[in-house]
């Protein structure tokens, strides 16, 4: 019997259940829509401001980020960089929410024991439970980001648009987003493996987003400037972290304890 068949079957089941869960579906669809709405509304509001509303010069770190632009267009570029980071929260939020239900949800629905009684191995089960939330999380991220880019291209001045789709952000969206999704999924799964309540698991797993919040504040204050080397370093760190978390997840997932100690 094929390991890939078992993993595929379980992923298909997870996605079918996702389509039947209003809460999870609302998360997958709602989070990127909200981010697109907030980002677009902010950018359009700033665009409608008078050219020099305060008369004060912009801070040096903003000007450094704008690379030649000043005034409202520079504020737009600065805000856009914040929203880029906001979009990078999507692959953290969605997969962890789905993954948090992954094990404890099955346990509460009493479906875990029949599942564990099959020849599926722990690694196969965890792989399916990791891929299933990760894919919608990454797709939702890319969809949201693409929608926002489309709106930006349609409404922003060309010089601003030129600063939106830059190599660091493209790298972040293509490579860092899936790695971040894997990171939050594995944390969600581990918490779910040791929890008795899906909501509690979701809340604890949500803490995994904190490092990204730190990055947002770093950029807001001008302490961190997102660049291609930074993104590559971030990806490398995430790769190592993900590998470590995968190993940890397989250790934390104790089939016996999950069956016998949870009541």
């Amino acid at each position: 019997m094929s390991s890939a068949t078992r993993v595929r079957a379980l992923i298909a089941k997870e996605w079918s259940e996702l389509l039947h869960s209003r809460l999870l579906l609302a998360t997958v669809v709602g989070v990127p829509l909200i981010f697109v709405g907030v980002a677009s509304a902010n950018m359009l509001t700033v665009a409608a401001l008078p050219p020099d509303p305060t008369g004060d010069p912009l801070p040096a770190y903003m000007l450094e980020m704008c690379d030649g632009l000043d005034g409202i267009p520079c504020v737009q570029v600065y805000l856009a960089s914040m929203f880029h980071l906001l979009f990078l929260m999507t692959p953290m939020v969605i997969p962890s929410t789905i993954a948090a239900h992954g094990v404890v949800g099955e346990k509460n629905a009493k479906t875990l024991e029949p599942l564990l009684a099959t020849p599926i191995t722990t690694a196969e089960l965890l792989l399916a439970k990791t891929v299933a939330p990760l894919v919608p999380g990454v797709l939702a991220t890319w969809f949201g980001y693409a929608a926002w880019m489309a709106i930006a291209f349609a409404t922003m001045p060309r010089p601003v648009v030129a600063h939106l789709l830059t190599p660091p952000w493209a790298l972040a969206m293509v490579f860092a987003a899936p790695l971040m999704a894997a990171f939050s999924t594995l944390i969600g799964l581990m918490v779910s493996s040791r929890s008795t309540d899906p909501r509690a698991a979701q809340q604890v797993a949500g803490l995994g987003v904190l490092p990204l919040v730190g990055l947002i504040f770093g950029q807001l204050s001008g302490l961190v400037l997102v660049s291609a080397p930074l993104v590559i370093a971030l990806c490398a760190c995430l790769l190592v972290l993900d590998a470590g978390l995968w190993w940890l997840a397989t250790q934390v997932f104790e089939r016996e304890a999950i069956l016998t100690r949870w009541k």
């Binding site: 068949t5 078992r6 039947h20 479906t111 099959t118 020849p119």
Partner: protein, 308 residues
Amino acid sequence: MNAIIAHELTRRFDDRVAVDHLSIEVAPGEVIGFLGPNGAGKTTTVRMLAGLIAPTSGTAEVAGFRIDTQVVHVRARVGLLTETPGLYDTLPAAQNLRLFAHLYGCDDVEGRIRRWLERFGLWERRDDPPGSFSKGMRQKLAIARALLHDPPVLFLDEPTSGLDPEAATVVRDAIASLRNDGRTIFLCTHNLTEAERLCDRVALFKTRLIAVDTPRALRDQLFGRQVAFHVGRADDALLAVLRAVPGVIEVARNDSRLVARIDDPEATNPAAVRALVAAGADVRFVGEVRHSLEEVYHELLGARAGTP
């Protein structure tokens, strides 16, 4: 080779012993009832034999594979109906089965799904989610799921627990229909009527194995074979007459009946009837006293199961 061979199987949870040195053998095609009160360790035993949890000590072979070193092979060859059906309530019935058919690596997945759904009368409801099913239908779907991969050994853990009498009958009929498949069935229950109807042998269990045999043999061992002579007026004289018949071990009077313990009623009854008639008794009819499995259960588990 036996389908299940357990040798000194023991499972502890911290300081508590759930299963204590269980040794039992179950033949291929046999239906064995595993009887015991709540908390006796029945589910723990099933989980060990189905390869879900490991024993603390002892070992077992199920369908020819060891539960400690060949656990994936064991899981592939047993079907398990858990205490609750554990169905994906939002997914269609057929999709519930499809998932497990793939997990078990079955061929002809759609054919198998159709075969088992038809067998249990659920084919017409294949596109409906089990959340909309009655309890009996849900349990039948869960049994179908346990049978999808044609396992030679089937574990059923309290299959009629929590069902109303009508649903329980539906499920019992479904289990009875499996008897002819030549499959070994390990039926955990505390429903004694169910065990008596469905099982070839029963094992009485409360942390330790108390007794295992056919219901009839257990009754005979415990109560001996008893024959009731309905004589209209059972007095001391007839009691003495019956007691004097060779082969009669013990006689008691019970209203209009004389109840005799006899080792071999087929050989002794004619002489006993002749003696009673000769003594002036109006023998109206003679019948064997049937003790229920419930009496056996209470006698054995009440008297001998003082151990934790």
